[in-house]
């Protein structure tokens, strides 16, 4: 279907055309945001409409600038200086930057872009970033080419480059999220898998809503999705090819429930839960051979497993102590160490892609929280609180968490929210319908 076609086209074009515009000597730039847990004063930036360099490019200039601005504003680390405050408007990508005009309105980072459309419809986007107060270009100019369909991805790539140059960390804007799209009242909910850009744009549906689908999880490269479906009448794990939207059931024992799947970092192994009788344990499966290995063997509910980024360990939840708590065990099974000890119940642990933190859902005194702790259980911090927050997923750079928030009562509905790992910048991700169970894919 079109998902694969479009992405392949765009990717091919982007990879082929990623080129240096000008090889200026790199200079140490003072413009820098250190991402810390303290209060950060957001850095003022300006992004004028990208300058159209061909007649057909006019419509794209404003749109590209808007997506770049939205990406950066959304981090909470940057704040856009609105265009109506501008003293001068650049009319040429090549003309010298009038630094004084930007200093006067306290802009610290200036993003200058240009766009052209070729006769064959290919869009070319180029940009430069300037450190206004030092009067220097920050990094080098870059340009991207692709189809007009992929214009948002090009804007996200610009924003990723700006974010990366100023923070020193990789970005996360050119990424996608797979989630469950929900319609209908609470007692007749229809669910289907959907995929979207990280900001909620370009939603496409991967399944219909004829059976319940739950908790999709991206593969490390974003090419496949593991999820739980009731297509057989029982919850069973399926694997879906994002390109052609074909899915197959993971063969395991019949007559049991399997759920809570997640890929290993190698993309070849799945870890998940199987319920047999009243007991739920954690297993792995080699996706190619179907060979299944049991990792836990207690009478408790053990579920929601998630690998460390190096694949050596697995964090999971178990109620073996009498209530839901978090544990870490070796990836091959064996003795598990409990890491959560605060008041309340802890579930749905997810290992950060940076390896340093575990995100989790905490229930305490009738409220739900998304929180993070170090992998030894220390430095627990709760980032959110509401009637029902659950199911964190990490941005590919480990700086932002997306999760499900469901509102209370008979008309309660689920939607996606994101929050940065310091607890700032809580915001709703707009989706066409109600939405739950996000899984954030890799930077593309």
């Amino acid at each position: 279907m079109s998902v694969n076609h479009r992405v392949t086209q765009v990717l091919t074009a982007l990879t082929a055309a990623l080129a240096l515009l000008l090889a200026l000597p790199a200079q140490a730039a003072p413009l820098r945001i250190e991402i810390t847990e303290g209060v950060v004063e957001p850095l003022p930036f300006a992004v004028p409409d990208f300058i159209p360099e061909t007649a057909a490019a006019g419509e794209w200039g404003g749109k590209l600038a808007q997506v770049v601005a939205d990406d950066l504003n959304g981090t909470g680390l940057f704040i856009q200086t609105p265009q109506d405050a501008f003293i001068s408007r650049p009319t040429s990508f090549a003309a010298p930057v009038q630094y004084n005009d930007w200093k006067a309105i306290n802009v610290q980072a200036l993003i200058m872009g240009a766009v052209s459309v070729a006769d064959n419809g290919q869009l070319t986007v180029k940009f430069r970033v300037y450190d206004v107060f030092s009067g220097q270009e920050l990094g080098k100019g870059l340009q991207f080419q692709g189809t007009t369909e992929g214009w948002r991805r090009m804007a996200h790539k610009v924003a990723d480059a700006v974010y990366s140059r100023i923070t020193g960390e990789s970005g996360y804007f050119d990424s996608r999220v797979v989630y469950v799209s929900e319609t209908g009242p609470k007692d007749d909910r229809k669910k289907r898998l959907a995929i979207m850009d990280y900001d909620g744009a370009n939603v496409q549906y991967l399944t219909d809503s004829s059976s319940i689908v739950l908790a999709p999880r991206f593969s490390p490269t974003g090419d496949r999705v593991l999820y739980t479906s009731y297509a057989t009448g029982f919850p069973r794990i399926h694997v879906l090819d994002v390109g052609n939207t074909q899915s197959r059931i993971l063969e395991s024992q019949t007559g049991v429930m399997s759920f809570a799947p997640r890929f290993a970092p190698n993309g070849q192994t799945a870890v998940f839960s199987i319920s047999e009788g009243s007991n739920t344990d954690i297993f792995t499966m080699d996706l190619a051979s179907g060979a299944t290995t049991r990792l836990t063997n207690t009478p408790a509910i053990e579920t929601a497993p998630s690998y460390s980024p190096d694949g050596s360990r697995i964090v999971f939840e178990s109620d073996r102590s009498g209530s839901q708590q978090l544990y870490i065990m070796p990836a091959g099974g064996g003795e598990a160490e409990r890491i959560s000890f605060g008041p309340g119940r802890y579930g749905t642990p997810v290992w950060s892609p940076r390896g340093d933190l575990i995100a989790f859902t905490k229930q305490h005194k009738g409220r739900f929280h998304i929180g993070v702790m170090r992998t030894d259980g220390s430095e627990e911090r709760l980032l959110t609180a509401s009637f029902l927050d659950e199911g964190p997923t990490w941005a590919p750079n480990g700086r932002v968490i997306m999760f499900t928030r469901e509102t209370q009562g008979a008309s309660g509905q689920a939607s996606l929210y994101s929050v940065d790992v310091s607890g700032r910048s809580l915001r709703r991700v707009r989706t066409p319908d109600a939405a739950s169970d996000p899984s954030w894919g890799p930077l593309q």
């Binding site: 057989t232 009448g233 429930m257 839960s273 009243s278 929601a304 659950e390 009562g409 008979a410």
Partner: protein, 174 residues
Amino acid sequence: MTHLTKIALLVGALAVSACTNAGRFGQDDPRLDGSAGAGAGAGFVPGGAGDPSSPAYFQQAIGDRVLFLVDQSSLTAEAQATLDQQAEWLLTNSDYQAVIEGHADEQGTREYNLALGGRRANAVREYLISRGVPASRLRFVSYGKERPIEICSDESCYAKNRRAVTVIAGSAVS
């Protein structure tokens, strides 16, 4: 098997819709009569709720569900009394199979609640087996918090959603 599952799901859906507004577990809900395609009224119609060998009778007169305390899967005395009658009916009407559906309220994470619903359904299944119902006639499935029948966000609704429902499926062709 596919056919049986379809029947089970159909009956399950009817049970759920019928119970949404019912005062108590769907008893005395006139909409249920005939809704299973098996009878037309409350009187003694073969297959209707007045027919003790009908699934409708099982659902309404005996009670097709038992309820659980918060985060628990143990059977209360009341639940056991209901299940004793369920077992008796299943032993008498040995052509039928049953799928036991376990559910949780919305307070809880999705995956844990799936496992918890499984525990509840299995507790019912094991109890019925202990009363002599052959294990081969009993399957179970959990819906976790995916299929609430009551939709408010307080204990009055949660209490009814923490349930295991015995859905009669697949009467033998006669």
